[in-house]
Point group: C2
Chain length 332, copies 2
């Protein structure tokens, strides 16, 4: 295993220290609890937004802390759920009296640990609601998951609900908004290579030199099927078809995320976006906003995913609203 | 070779088409000449900034077209200099009567082709000046280069000179500013893996499972030496030592770019930044601004580079000025 780390044991702590000194104006880090927090609180008391998950998906979640997105993100060990203590510390830190929304990807450990933290926080008098993401159409039930997995839509939701929270919307409205985003968003990914978890030291799975894994999860979990390698045009079909089969995206302005899994060059992501857009237009789907880049990654995995969200005018306005985080920035 | 491309032959054209539809508000593309241009011209006539080079380093250069950086970028074939025709087309397109500055990385082909375009443009009455980058301290003379190579400092210079051009500075001032930035900036990189050029279909060089290449170029050119793999702390020393040996960075507020070569996860880049900053502080170097991420890449190469620039108040103000490009955005 070749990685630019000091050791697998200190990887998360070292990365958080690097983030803190790289973004001193944006972030502060509670190193005891491994929680990344906004440096500057919102000017008005607002609902606090907390997310988190295993490390290795950066910029998700820790890179999306800041104005217009999250108030705190909990960094678990690599591909490991954050503990209830971490989530509780984050929840306490961001509660400004208007309640806290937990944004949780649907993995069994994450769900359990966020729920436990929610119960303890509630007992302390902090109002907490939750949005659960399960946007991955690839498989139902998987390694680490009962039901569908939460993947690329997560960062889109964090952007949109984050903007709504800055507007001053209340906890119930934000939770409902988040659920509606999850209902109307879908993702599908493919991998050209495995990723290597530092503590394991070897690739999570093996893919032959002429194979791809369709429907891959963001932790190297198995996908739908293993296929012979194809070109960009066919790869785009493999990703878009299951999305359109699962949800009707016609008749709404959609937001499209073409997401790199970590090790795929930007050049290839742009080629893929061109192919994805061509297919969507041919199928009557109007893409109103897009994002191309590494946003919800899987360590050093090569591959990409497509996320579609059937938006509306409110969501497009929220998408365009200013955001100022290490991983996403515009209008600020 | 596993890449998300349609074919090696169409890779650059396909990527430019994808960029164009991904950033319709920011960019337009002259597909005949493979030149990426600002969608919206500056509000006041300004000096035009043109750069370019081989494709495969994205977001450099095509992703840095927009307000506060470049007016045009020429996309050569993968790792291949743009032709004089491309540079000439870009130069003509951005000349607003105040002249055009060419920003050129020191590779023999780039130097020749930009100079040829400069001569033709001059014969047409367009004033053109040039800044040549040779910031890589790793080697003198290399594959493709006489003298030192131009690498990571390029995007830093494009940001700074781009901001100065928006202020309305004239061609001579901008050329002088660019040369002064090149004089005061240094870079050093290392690779954990090779990259694979699509047309070649196999890795440019071989690195063993326990080896790194120190002083690597951004096209897989040989570096200074091949070393046994080390951890992040030692890797940071390997990169910072040659920079400080080559230039005195004490006594000035420095700008530090911790740049990923394309396939290295953000988590590792943050770990590396933490180590680099620790060393710099111990050596009396004050980092006033930083950037961590994939900015000057080398296709699917794993590794990173460090760029340091001894700045001053003027340069820090230019750094902080608004920029609005696909690859770098703040204040807009």
């Amino acid at each position: 295993m070749k990685k630019l780390l000091n050791s697998a044991d200190t990887a998360v702590a070292d990365a958080l220290r690097g983030m803190e000194v790289a973004h001193p104006d944006h972030l502060r880090v509670d190193h005891v609890n491994r929680v990344v927090l906004r440096r500057t609180p919102a000017s008005q008391p607002k609902v606090g937004l907390v997310s988190g998950g295993g490390t290795g998906h950066e910029p998700l979640h820790v890179g999306y802390v800041g104005h217009g997105m999250l108030d705190a993100a909990c960094a678990g060990e690599v591909f490991t759920s954050p503990t209830p203590d971490q989530v509780l510390a984050a929840t306490r830190a961001v509660d400004a009296g208007r309640g806290v929304l937990h944004i949780v990807k649907n993995y069994t450990g994450d769900v359990l640990n966020f729920e436990m933290a929610q119960e303890i926080a509630a007992a302390e008098g902090i109002r907490v609601d939750q949005v659960l993401l399960d946007d991955d159409v690839a498989v139902v039930d998987s390694l680490y998951t009962a039901g569908r997995r939460g993947v690329g839509l997560t960062m889109v939701l964090e952007k949109l609900v984050g903007a709504a929270a800055e507007q001053g919307r209340d906890l119930g409205e934000l939770a409902q908004l988040g659920r509606s985003i999850n209902d109307r968003g879908r993702s599908m990914g493919l991998a050209l290579t495995s990723c290597t978890v530092p503590a394991a030291g070897r690739p999570t799975f093996d893919l032959g030199p002429d194979e791809l894994e369709l429907g891959i999860g963001i932790h190297g979990e198995p996908g739908r099927e293993r296929l012979p390698m194809v070109g960009a045009r066919d790869a785009a079909e493999l990703l878009v078809d299951p999305l359109l089969a699962d949800h009707d995206f016609t008749g709404a302005p959609t937001i499209c995320l073409l997401n790199g899994m970590g090790a795929t060059p930007l050049m290839e992501l742009y080629v893929m976006y061109g192919e994805v857009l061509r297919i969507l237009e041919a199928r009557g789907v109007e893409v109103a906003r897009n994002l191309v880049g590494n946003h919800v990654t899987s360590l050093d995995m090569a591959g990409c995913s497509v996320t579609l969200l059937a938006a509306d005018d409110d969501l497009l306005t929220l998408w365009d609203a200013p955001v100022n985080t290490p991983g996403l920035r515009w209008g600020c």
